[in-house]
Each structure stands twice: as C-alpha cells, then as structure tokens.
C-alpha cells in the first residue's frame, strides 16, 4: 500500500515527470499518456522505492524505461522534428537565456534521444551525473562524455561556431563589451 508520504512525493514530482516526458516525446499528448503510465507503475511498485533515495531519479527510471519499451516506436510516427511542443506549451514571454527558446527547442528535438535525455537529466532536471548514469544503466564517464557530445551537437544544430553567435553575454566577465542597447535588452 502506497504511503501518504509516497503519494505526496509523487504529486510533487508530477511537473518534473511531465517536463522530462515532453522533452523525450516531443508531443504533449503523448507525454501525458507516458506520465500516466509512469504513475500507475510507480503506484503499483511503491514498496520497491527506498525512502531516503531520490524519488525523482526512481520515477525518471520508470518513465524512461516505459518510454523506450512502449512509446518510442509510436512516437516516431507522430513526432514532429520541428518541435511542435515549443508552440503548445510556451507561456512565458520572459527569457533568461541568450538563445531564442523556440529555436533552441527545434534544435533540441533534432538531437538523438540518447543525447537529449542526458542533457535534460543533468543540465535541467537537477539530477546528478551519478543518478543519470544509474537511470541509463551506464558508467558515469559515459554520461559525462554523452553530455559533452550532446552540447557540441546542439551548438552545431544551433549554428553556433563561436562566442559571437550567442549574442550579448550576461556574465560579469563580458560586461565591458556590453553596449547600452544590449543592457536595455536584458
């Protein structure tokens, strides 16, 4: 029987599960089906979760396994390489990054799943390299190597070949290069 604590934890992780699922599937509808399947499996196996370990990592493992065993093929048929989810879910106009979010999502959708998942896990969801390695069933060094290659590939897809391609830099080191116009934009 699932404990209240497990239930609360699961609810708290829903938005992360969904973000990971959308990133993997590229389609919101499919992502929501995947999250639902993940929830059912997690609930049915709640006694296998070890309290004190990362619930997010545990749930991501289930979600990822479900995706690769059930969704991947289906996904290929409906997947849009232009990343339609970029238009569907984006609500915020504000943006922290130097790169355009819609462009970034199109590039992200073009990455291989192997590269996309590691970038999301390690670069966005807050999981450690060690957790990502365990989730993917590979060595930590392999994850590090994949993250590096994924970044290089992504930069290539985004047409970034030098620092000049990423627009005004917001870090303090580059402040001297910032014109008033650039300042106004940030």
């Amino acid at each position: 029987m699932a404990s209240d604590e497990f239930r609360e934890g699961l609810i708290a992780e829903l938005s992360n599960l969904r973000a990971f699922a959308v990133s993997l599937c590229g389609s919101v509808q499919q992502a929501d089906d995947l999250v639902q399947d993940t929830m059912l499996k997690a609930w049915g196996n709640s006694e296998k979760f070890q309290p004190g370990t990362s619930l997010r990592a545990w749930l991501f493992t289930i979600l990822r396994n479900t995706y690769y065993s059930l969704y991947r093929k289906r996904g290929r048929e409906v997947q849009d390489s232009d990343g339609t989810y970029a238009q569907r879910l984006t609500v915020s106009g504000e943006q922290e990054s130097a790169l355009d979010l819609a462009d970034f999502r199109i590039a992200l959708a073009k990455l291989s799943e192997e590269h996309r998942e590691v970038l999301i896990m390690v670069g966005a969801s807050g999981l450690s390299y060690e957790e990502a390695a365990e989730i993917c069933g590979v060595a930590v060094g392999t994850i590090k190597s994949r993250v590096n290659r994924a970044r290089v590939k992504l930069a290539d897809l985004l047409g970034i070949s030098s620092v000049d391609d990423i627009g005004p830099e917001r870090s303090t080191s580059a402040v001297i290069h910032q014109s008033p116009a650039d300042m106004a934009r940030t």
Binding site: S23, A98, S112, A124, R151
Partner: protein, 65 residues
C-alpha cells in the same frame, strides 16, 4: 553514421579526446536548457493526474478493508 560511432564508444568514455566548447557557449546552452525545462515545469499539471491518484487511493482503501 553517428549511431555507429556512438555504439562503438558507448562504454568507453573518451572525454579528453572530445571537442570541448568554449565555456561561454556551454553556459548559453545550459541556460537555454534550464529555460526550456523551467517553462515546462511552470505549465499547470493537468487534473487527470490528480483524478487518477484519487482513484488509485480509493481503490486501495476499498481493498484494504
């Protein structure tokens, strides 16, 4: 072509031989990744998930007694 290379090297990390991006480009990509993910996180969780959980709980309570 890429798939082939990835498979061959999958279990032998060769980080030092890989191309390494300028830290500022890495940083820009990192910030975009977070912007992408945070935007998804902010989207409201559909009711269907909470409904599902309530159903699972109700079923469990029924079976438990």
């Amino acid at each position: 072509m890429r798939e082939k290379a990835d498979k061959r090297e999958a279990e032998e990390p060769e980080v030092e031989r890989d191309i390494v991006l300028d830290p500022r480009i890495q940083d820009a990509i990192g910030r975009s990744l977070k912007a992408h993910y945070d935007d998804l996180i902010k989207a409201p969780v559909p009711d269907r998930f909470l409904v599902l959980l309530a159903e699972l709980e109700a079923k469990e309570r029924k079976n438990g007694q």
